[in-house]
Symmetry: D2
């Protein structure tokens, strides 16, 4: 279904070229004074048309809150956030009304539902993630009050990779360039790569890294709802994601246990800490208080400005011609989506955790 | 919580050294004649002591069904499967009663619950996965009746990698060697590697690949509950997993969209097919009928036969000494767990899908 | 939370005097041509100002669908229905900003959330049920296609009772009078009673009966989610409801089992039928194909045009003075709400049932 | 499904004449020292054979905990409680293998699942409620620690009614007689009535009243999951229940609002209290701190020692002959089940409430 979360539960709605997209948030703690400008700033980080390396669709993505707020504060009732679609040029899509675009969801939606809103991909459009970013911006505010900070950044575009450990990066550089890579030199190369790819009417993939700092220990549930399993699901639910790894990830496979184990010691303040952090801040599915970090792989965008072989809805061979306004690479706009989903996962576990720990004999 | 699935819902219970582990299955279709021997055979594939490269704990892992079956058939009521623990040498663990083993869940459980069953890791032990394998064996039987086939195999141990595409492998070789790698030559190397690592009292990681063949199109839900997002969550919920990728995965990042897109054509039988399958059989979170394939990364086992720095529950520095019977590498026994979890995900979507498509005007 | 249903899942939002109220429907089957005029007609049956015996607030209650429809048909994606508030005279409520109205939710919301939108009761207002009626109107359309028909009517206002069994009533009379009682003589008395009560600035309770005809057997789940348990919950979730009984209900308590048991026979068409129907169409929580019927008790409306003793938010004694536009008796407008909730329960089980029965060996 | 609750979630399993019945409890707070003798005492209150007015099946109903406890305390992992069936005389039921007993679940289970365990009603047997009583006994212990007390009692058998308000009853008398009515004179009459009915091979209905004292304000959720809606669902899910009312209930229908409203004042200790309590301790679905009280109607037991008309599974007319050991009236044993379900509802909301209120800016 279109719902994520148990304690802080969001349900998103809307199609790329319908009237609006939006989100209901159920379970938001009451009495919070929401910073609406922050929500807008987060939406602006995802917004089309924000730079030269993203799609040029012109959407202000202004959010309207139509329930759940009274005199500037949350009331504990559902928050409904609506973003009205403005620059929905549906006629751009009439040519694909009866065609399946390769590696899009056109064919699978048709198979599953027997009908699809073909305009801009309808519900399968990444435009749906604007609703997640709005909800995530609220989750972030609540997490900040608890001291939890989430940062994502572009670590790879095509074969251009940032391999520096996150501890040695200057996160203040992330928003200083269009591709959101904290290394300015690599950022320039990545931007060049994206421009070059676009010139060819082509697209390219990328990787977004994320770090969650100052997480309390005890978040996450054993067995199925492990903290990293939910993070993985949340990331894999973002359009175009093909892989997720946390802590040592796929590289950890080649390590010996004696090198991989995170030895435990007591720091000056008497806190239990680990000497290394290959666990990625999570052990047995539960946070241990160390930094949580993970990587998310995005495939190249499926919409190309090139001709491609496909079928139409009648099953005849057709040539699909690329049209419309699209991103040559998704990662610059995906950074804030990764942060939003991470915030939603963390806050959900944070609130669920109250249940487990608060009862007193 | 300890529940997975919506339509075919399993809840597992039990601790490594408690009376028993087991699973309740709610939502199993009625009137099915279950093949109990198959369930046992699957458990045997996960069972400790099955070969020289796994832990030597002696557990027959025999399953008892105490509800939900009548005259050999499922009745639609909850199936309860219990596996009684036999060879639970709890005294092996008395030395860690007050110590946190590095990179285990000891510290995080203590932080979350204020108490932990330290014997063999209690609930955090991978022994819990026997319950999943039993449930997965039932899910597999149902999927087979629909023609869906799931195969997993070891593709990497340490740095020894099987890079052959799955289409060129002989799956009948998988169960012919102790490490469950379909390439006999590599299998021998992997087994040697594991033996060597064990000799040093150390452990090593690995990768399990999986392929799901003959999936109907239309499985999976848009937005949050995408088929690959649920597969990812299910895999990441398995003990020791650090990463998941499907289709082109992390490698797809470096590809151009024009190379990555799976062009669509009509095969001889009139079916829509794709020329390549970088999508991994899933588009927009919904299966398209092509093979689903993915990879799961396992870290090296945390239990070592070496001394390690840690803290005790009083916060004092201690040296944790490795004892007990453990796996030097988890992947040989993980192959069947990966299959089980994949079966649980697939069947759940299969059953949920009935809702969406069956109503007729 | 603000969600009802599993397969056909609705989430309502909005406050009485906020911007709007509305509902998201997730799980609506695709490819349905919705009859929007029918939805509006149902809303008109609940609408304030529809007759002289209900509140005179002027709300057109016109519904806008902002997602989930494409070219007039459902697409399987979330349907979002919004009803913008028009005649929200919030100043009518400024006098209760700091007062707790007796037998309203003012005090409990304040205790639970530490804040409340006092305007018209905010989220606790029965205005929220307009969203349920809109969703129920869609559920009804789908059920009709399966032949299932739901009818509710007023059976009691104060001490004026309609005791005729439903089989002997002329349901076509229900909408012929303002109180929605199928017996015209009693209807006149009920209307007089309501008018008299209003003249005194007072309110009165009532009972709504409902009948569900042509339900297939097999709907409902054993144990906790019995069909009548869900119906009961759904009815009790409607504002002002104090009791629910089905089949023989509270009167059945005094019967002997030999009189109460519904003997089974085969009718002319070869169908299994019962000679009586004290079971109310449900046995063991599952429908048996006979008519389902139940009764719902509504207390007198809490808002009076009289002075009442209470406290303010500072804990001081105050006199609450009745103001605003309110219903002297809730049942005339509640009839359609009862039908809507019944439709939501039935359809949810109908869709869930597909899972159970469709799998074939 | 077979699960109840969100934060304190129970899943029951087992059939009347299978190996065992039992329950998994997921979400039980950790570090609780459970009083196992109390659990057994509660089971004894539900146990068959406990007195001359209940069924004479001999079941010790001894509970075995097979997971979730370590050194006498809960660990936060799933608690599994098993009650092995002992006196399961399945041959008593061979005569109904192919017959549908009137007003039982035989026909509906057959219709829904295409198969049924006919022995003692299988899963539809009230024996399943033993598992609820065991889980409820744990919930009660936790609620007691918070000061919340739940008391149920028999208020009606056939037409013999206890009409005294609960405030004037001596609850210590409840367990002093076999029918569990706190009025000794009426208790004697009720017992006589039950004996008389049994002599005729017949059965009779009854009502159980319940009171929840010392509930904190703020329990329950607005809109669908109102506290009384969940209580209603929980009670209606008990075998043989036909009706539920709380506070003023069906009688409140005839009251004027001016009489029904609960005026609010400040008591000596400065607490907000209401002068009357027609609301039954719940306003807007949320507890206000006053006593919660409600009534539950049970139909006469369907199993009679008389011949009855019915059909067999082939659709032929048959005469069903009463056999086996059954209760002539369900309420004496139902009292503890009502308490158990109330405890499960209350504790679930209690734990869920931690989420809403604990977050601090």
């Amino acid at each position: 279904m279109n719902t994520y979360g148990k304690a802080f539960r969001i349900t998103t709605f809307g199609e790329s070229h319908g009237d609006a997209i939006g989100v209901i948030i159920d379970g938001c703690p009451s009495n919070l004074a929401l910073d609406m400008e922050f929500i807008q700033r987060e939406l602006n980080r995802r917004r089309p048309g924000q730079s030269k390396i993203v799609t040029q669709r012109k959407e202000p993505d202004q959010v309207q809150v139509i329930s759940g707020i009274f005199e500037g504060k949350t009331t504990g009732t559902p928050l409904t956030l609506v973003i009205w679609n403005q620059d929905a040029k549906s006629k751009d899509y009439s040519h694909i009304a009866n065609q399946f675009r390769p590696s899009h969801a056109d064919y699978t939606y048709q198979q599953k539902y027997g009908i699809r809103d073909y305009r801009g991909g309808g519900r399968s459009s990444a435009r749906e993630t604007a609703a997640r970013v709005a909800a995530g911006a609220i989750a972030k505010q609540i997490l900040w009050q608890q001291g939890i900070k989430i940062t994502a950044y572009t670590s790879q575009v095509g074969s251009i990779k940032l391999t520096t450990p996150y501890q040695h990066l200057d996160f203040s550089q992330i928003e200083q360039n269009d591709v959101r890579c904290p290394d300015p030199t690599l950022a320039t190369q990545m931007i060049e790569c994206i421009k070059e790819v676009r010139k060819q009417g082509d697209t390219i993939g990328g990787v977004v890294n994320a770090v969650i700092e100052n997480t309390p220990s005890g978040l996450g549930e054993p067995v199925f709802d492990k903290l990293h399993a939910e993070l993985g699901k949340a990331m894999l639910s973002i359009n175009a994601v093909k892989g997720f790894e946390y802590g040592s990830g796929f590289d950890g496979v080649e390590m010996l246990g004696s090198a991989h184990n995170d030895l435990i010691y007591k720091d000056e303040s008497g806190e239990a800490r680990t000497r290394s952090n290959y666990s990625g801040g999570i052990q047995g599915g539960i946070s241990n208080g160390e930094d949580i970090y993970f990587r998310v792989a995005f495939k190249p965008v499926a919409t190309l400005m090139q001709d491609q072989e496909s079928l139409n809805t009648q099953g005849d061979s057709v040539t699909v011609t690329g049209k419309g306004r699209h991103d040559p690479c998704v990662v610059p706009r995906a950074v804030v989506i990764v942060e939003a989903m991470a915030a939603l996962v963390l806050l959900d576990f944070y609130l669920r955790n109250q249940q487990t720990v608060e009862i007193k004999p």
